[in-house]
């Protein structure tokens, strides 16, 4: 899966867990929590959705990589490189 496809996957997850948010102007360089209502339970939803969809296990010590869209895509790219879009 290419980085742009991974970005869309994450965007789709965000749309499901935060259905009241307008994500059309999401800034990929800014922390999710600074531009949308996202608490710790929502954050765990992101981890859970990735686990269910792609069997990606993200250890707690790696959560700091999921702060922005840019950092999330960077972190996920090697993990999902062999996954078909």
């Amino acid at each position: 899966m290419a980085p742009e496809q991974i970005r869309q996957v994450v965007l789709d997850i965000l749309a499901r867990i935060a259905p009241d948010e307008d994500l059309s102007d999401l800034d990929d360089a800014v922390a999710f929590r600074d531009q949308m209502e996202l608490d710790s339970m929502d954050f765990l939803d992101i981890v859970m959705e990735l686990r269910k969809a792609y069997r990606v296990q993200i250890p707690e010590e790696d959560y700091e990589n999921l702060v922005t869209m840019d950092s999330t895509v960077t972190y996920l790219t090697p993990l999902l490189k062999d996954v078909d879009a």
Binding site: I17, A18, P19, D20, M41, D45, M48, R51, K52, Q57
Partner: protein, 416 residues
Amino acid sequence: MTNAEMYNSRIVITGVGLTSPIGDSLPDLRANLLAGKSGVTEFETRYMPPVLAGVCNFDALRHQKRKEVRRGTRAGSIAVYCANEAVNDAGFDWENVAKDRVGVYLGITEHGNVETENEIYEISQFGHDTSVWSHHHNPRTVANNPAGEVTLSLGVTGPHLTVGAACAAGNAGFIQGLQMLRLGEVDMAIAGGVSESIHTFGIFASFKSQNALASHDAPAKACRPFDTDRTGIVVAEGGAICTLERLPDALARGAKIYGEIVGHAMNSDATDFVLPNRNRQAQCIDLALKRAGMTPQDIDIVSSHATATEQGDIEESSALAKIFKDHPNVAINNTKSFIGHAMGAAGAIELLGNIPAFDDGIAHATINLDQLDPNVPLTQIVANEPRQLDSVDCILNNSFGMLGINSVLIVKKYQD
């Protein structure tokens, strides 16, 4: 008790919010009860052929964001809807209400089965890998969930409780609110009952295994309390919540008063897990009448609990026959015949659907009563068509549940 204390102990209903299979407001519920409209439909559940159920269609997004609906439970959504409707109906200046003096007391038959079944189904899609078990499971299944979601929605910082009382729970929620007001623990109670039970296959499967689940080619004819051709219980979802206040507080703010709770009682059969007990039910009714300082002749309408199971109908009707044997004009009706059994919400919906009788003097009917079971020793049932009474000043509401839990509430038309 001094006169002032007695005056302060008078508890009144000042706001109503509800959702039911035949209406999401009291006027709509009442209109459909008087029109004889059933809310029972075919309903899909897991693992079983379609069942019959009473299904609500309220607009959850009226009082919740989509994210809140997703995160919470169906019982929570029902509770949030009903509580907000009740608070709005009561006319509070909510911004300036002391939220730490508000309590939330909601009766439930059960809670957590829906969410647990959902998660077990979900992990079954992943080879029962428990690492995909949701982190939302615990906050969704804690027993206080529906009441807790109300506090989050309304910013209530006083106490909140769910009252687990099987199918006696609707009355039990009101009774808990009344008692907390009388103890001075709170100044306003958001009280009633809720149920999401139709979203668990287990309740249908269990009633089916007990040979107590209703079936009928025509869903509207399926729930038949007191009728010879009854086939069992129709499970429903729903909620009904009131704002309760001490009378002086309600009068001071010029509140509309729906009625005054003048009698209540709860007791236990201590005889069987599922089979009801006519003697304990009669004792519960008698205790509520005594506490109200009333005789059976003071009651105009009895809202029966009858679920359309043979033993349940016969036991309750025997209890009612014992209490009301010298009162041939009391009107005995039944709401489950319209909507099915709304479990934790049943008693609350059934009481509130009768409250407008204080104004219109009409006892709504028990529908689907084509042939009275000869083992039901009652002559006072309002069969199939509403009955116009001379006046309605007092309503007695029965709610009984498994493990032998009984609750009775008596509500009187407000008079100075």
